[in-house]
Every structure is written in C-alpha cells, then in structure tokens.
Amino acid sequence: MEGRLPDEPAFVDITDVSLAYGGDDHQTLALENASMAIGRGEFVAVVGPSGCGKSSLLKLVSGLHPASAGSVRVGGDPVGGPLKIVGMAFQNPIMLPWRTTLQNVLLPLEIVEPHRSVYRRRKKEFREKADSLLETVGLQGFGDRFPWQLSGGMQQRASLCRALIHEPDLLLLDEPFAALDAFTREELWDVLQDLWMRNGFTVVLVTHDLREAVYLADRVDVVSNRPGRVIFSRDVTLPRPRRLDNTYDADFVELVHELRDHISKARQAP
C-alpha cells in the first residue's frame, strides 16, 4: 500500500478481495486477498501476465461480478451491483450495429438516471453534447455513420465517448487499445490523457502494454500470476501532459524496464 493518510478515504477501496469462478468441483481462483486503493481523480494502470485476473478486478469494481470474499467500496459505499457513476470500455468496441455512431454514444443517457427520465425532453441538448464529445476524439462528421462503416480505431474512439457521455466519476478501461495498430493506439493515448486532464475523473486502466501504463498512469500496479494479487506498485511522477517524444526519455525507459522485471517475476511466481 502506498502512503495514504488514514483520514483520506480512497475513492475505490478493494480490501482482501478474492474471486472464484466456476462450480464447486473445479473452481478457478482469479483473485486472492487482493487489495488496492485508488484516490479520487487518480489514473491507475493495472498490468500483469495474461490470465492473472486483471479483468476480474474491473468486473468487481464495476459491480458486474460480486466478490467471493473481501470488500469492494466505491465512493465509500460497498458495491452491491452495477454502479451508475461508472463508464466502461472494453478491448472490443462492442457498438450496437443497428444504431448510428451518435445513437451508440447516446445509449448510456437512455439508461442512466437522472438523464434517462429527461431524455426525450433534452434530446437535442444531449445530441449536441455527444457531437462535441465525438469532435474531441476526432470523429466530427461521423455521428451519422454506422459503426461498421468505421475503422477499428474510430470505433474505439466512439466507444470511449460512450463510456464518458454520462460524465462518470469512474472510468474503467479493459485493454481498450489492445486490438489497435501501434499508431492509432498512441494517438488514442493522447486523446485519453487530454480527456482525463480536462475532466478529472478517476481511471482504472487494465493493460498488457507497459509503455501505455507508464505513459498514462499516475501509478502502475503489477498483479501476480493467478490467483492475482498486487505484488508491486510504482508511482509515475513524470510531468504532464506527457507526449510521445517522452517515451524515449531515459527516466521513461527506465520505468518501463523496472516494471518489465516485476512482470517477469510475476510470471514465475505462483
């Protein structure tokens, strides 16, 4: 655990959490006694070997999956089910193909209160909001296209917009850039960093990409092999906004190497 003052409660507080999948016969323990604390407005990246339960961590925090043991608190309250202050984006954009890109972005407003009950009345305003959000990620003019008419990178941009349209306090990202080519990925790092710096939400980013983690996060948590646990935590104090040139700086490269060593250990350790 890093040095947080006791009177400053974490925004996301995971304490001694275990998570088991499957029936009684062959249970898979995805997480065991995992703990993690994330402050409000913090950008935390979670890295680890594949299949280490990183994604399970997000499912716990989002309330999509209940913990088998331990406590998960967001904003001081125990998580008992899906939270409306959460926005999520996944490795696949998962756009609804029968809706235009703009309609896809608007989807959360049709579901999450208090927007839901005023959706009809304020539809015009919401559309303008979605339009301007699409513009900030470089998708101006594409709102009326269907998602399948867009490239993978464009769909992922739209998926980010959908995760943010209802102004969530907590953004959960499950390897959102993993399926993209390197150039698009790095471009979207900047898009995400800009959005985060402007809006100040809290981010948990699960990723395989150590450069991505160091580039974006305030802190990188390394999770061990299954059953997953946070085995190493590293604050990244590089100044912001970080730019792609910085990824070749000595301190950046050194950080990536340091994390790489811990990942190797994590892969060996049971």
Binding site: K84, W98, I111, F146
Partner: protein, 262 residues
C-alpha cells in the same frame, strides 16, 4: 455494375421460362395424357378460361393466409421474445413447441372443423398453426444468443433486464425475425390450402379439389401456379421489408438477396 444488375434481375425470369419450356417439351415428346400432366400452355389456357372463379378463390386463400400469418407474427414475436428472454420458459415450453410442431397440420383440420365448422376459420387457424413456429424459434434464438459482452455494456450502466431486452435483445433479433417471416409466409399458404382441400367451400385448395374430381387437370395445375405465384409475391414483400429494416445486419450490401433460411 449495371450489366451485372440487369443480368441479376433477368436470371429468375429466364429460369422460369426455361422450366416451362422443358415441361412443355417433355409432355409433348413423351405424349403424356392431359389428365396426368397437362402442358403449360393448356394450364395457362385454363388459367384464362376460368379467370373469374380462380380470382375469386385466390382472393379467399390470400385472405385466410394473411389473417393467419398476421396472428402468427404477433403471437410468434411475443412468445419468441418471452422464450428467448427467460431460460425457465425456454426449458419448459420448448419441448412442447417442438412436439406441437411435429403434428401434421392436416390431422388437425378435422378437429378444427369439429369446433368451428367448415370454411374460413379452420383455414385461418391452420395457416397460423403452421407458420408461427419458425418465428418463435428464430426470435428466441436471436435473443438467447445475445453476446455477454453486449449485455455487459448495458449492465455496467445499471440497465435492468427489461432495458437490455428493449435496447439490445429485440433489435438484435430482428434479422432472425425477418428471416423467419420469409419461411413463415410460404408455410402459411401451405396451411390454408391444406385446410381448404379438406374442408372448405371456397379457396384455391377447394377449387383444385373440385377440378380434380371432375378430371379437369389443367385447372388443377392452374391452381398450383396461382399458389406458387402468391407465395413468391408475399416472399418478395417479406424480403423487401427485411432489407429495408435490417440492412445493418448485411452491412448495407446486397447480401440480403440471398434467403437466410431458418
């Protein structure tokens, strides 16, 4: 592109004409008697000669088919959504539906006649009974096979089950629904004609039965042609609706011209 398109539109007409030519040639070549297999020319002659009664009866068949089909669409959609959305309902009702669908509808008609008398009502019910099953199965499949990832997108927003059904389940099942309509509409014709041949005072099935009992075989075949024609027209209507309303499923390309089957 234009040439391709015109070839595509011409192809079914050419195939139909080829079939008729082949048919005509076979009958003439082998000297087949008219009361066994009339030539297309004799069939078309009968079609024009008895145009009045054919039209009258065809209208009756079209009417019973469409009413039965309409009921099947509403019923199939509602039951399909319910069965697709609830695992319990799926498990409990599905075997019943399959058993029910396995009963030959021709065996049901006498019972319907017993209950409702001879005429329009048994034809409508038979058309309905035979055509709702593909709709239920397809709609239920479309909803039950909803990707968990897609559900997670909505669940992470705190969507209720009914929200997920409305925003994702039902729209996603629409291509399945329209595919089933194309099968159902042709089955509905089968249903109403079956009923008409067993117990009715009008309709193409009744007309064919009457014609065959007086050995006017060309008229029987004329009846068959009319049913086939009506089936094709209604299929085309269903296919058009499919392409208009679920173009996203074929990514707006011309893939929709292929029948998807059930």
């Amino acid at each position: 592109m234009k040439r391709l398109l015109s070839r595509g539109t011409l192809a079914p007409w050419l195939a139909t004409i080829a079939l008729f030519v082949f048919w005509e040639a076979v009958v003439r070549l082998f000297g087949i008697a008219e009361f066994i297999l009339p030539t297309p020319t004799a069939t078309f002659a009968a079609l024009f000669e008895f145009w009045g009664p054919i039209w009258h009866n065809a209208f009756q068949t079209l009417f019973t088919t469409m009413v039965g089909f309409a009921i099947a669409v509403v019923f199939g959609l509602v039951l399909g959504v319910a069965v697709g959305a609830s695992a319990l309902l799926y498990q409990s009702i599905y075997p019943l539906l399959i058993g029910f669908n396995s009963i030959p509808k021709v065996a049901v008609v006498p019972i319907l006649v017993l209950w409702f008398g001879i005429g329009t009502v048994p034809a409508i019910i038979t058309a309905f009974l035979i055509s709702f099953f593909p709709i239920v199965v397809n709609v239920a499949t479309g909803i039950a096979t909803l990707e968990p990832e897609m559900q997670d997108v909505l669940r992470s927003l705190g969507a209720r089950r009914i929200d997920i059904l409305r925003k994702v389940g039902v729209p996603r099942s629409m291509p399945y629904f329209f595919a089933s309509l194309k099968i159902s509409i042709t089955l509905a014709f089968v249903g109403s004609v079956i009923s008409e041949t067993v117990a009715a005072n009008s309709g193409i099935g009744h007309l064919m039965l009457q014609a065959s009992s007086s050995f006017r075989v060309p008229l029987v075949f004329a009846g068959l042609l009319v049913i086939a024609f009506l089936g094709i027209v209604m299929y085309a209507v269903a296919a058009l609706a499919e392409r208009r309303l679920t173009g996203w499923a074929t990514r707006g390309q011309d893939g929709a011209v292929y029948a998807t089957g059930g």
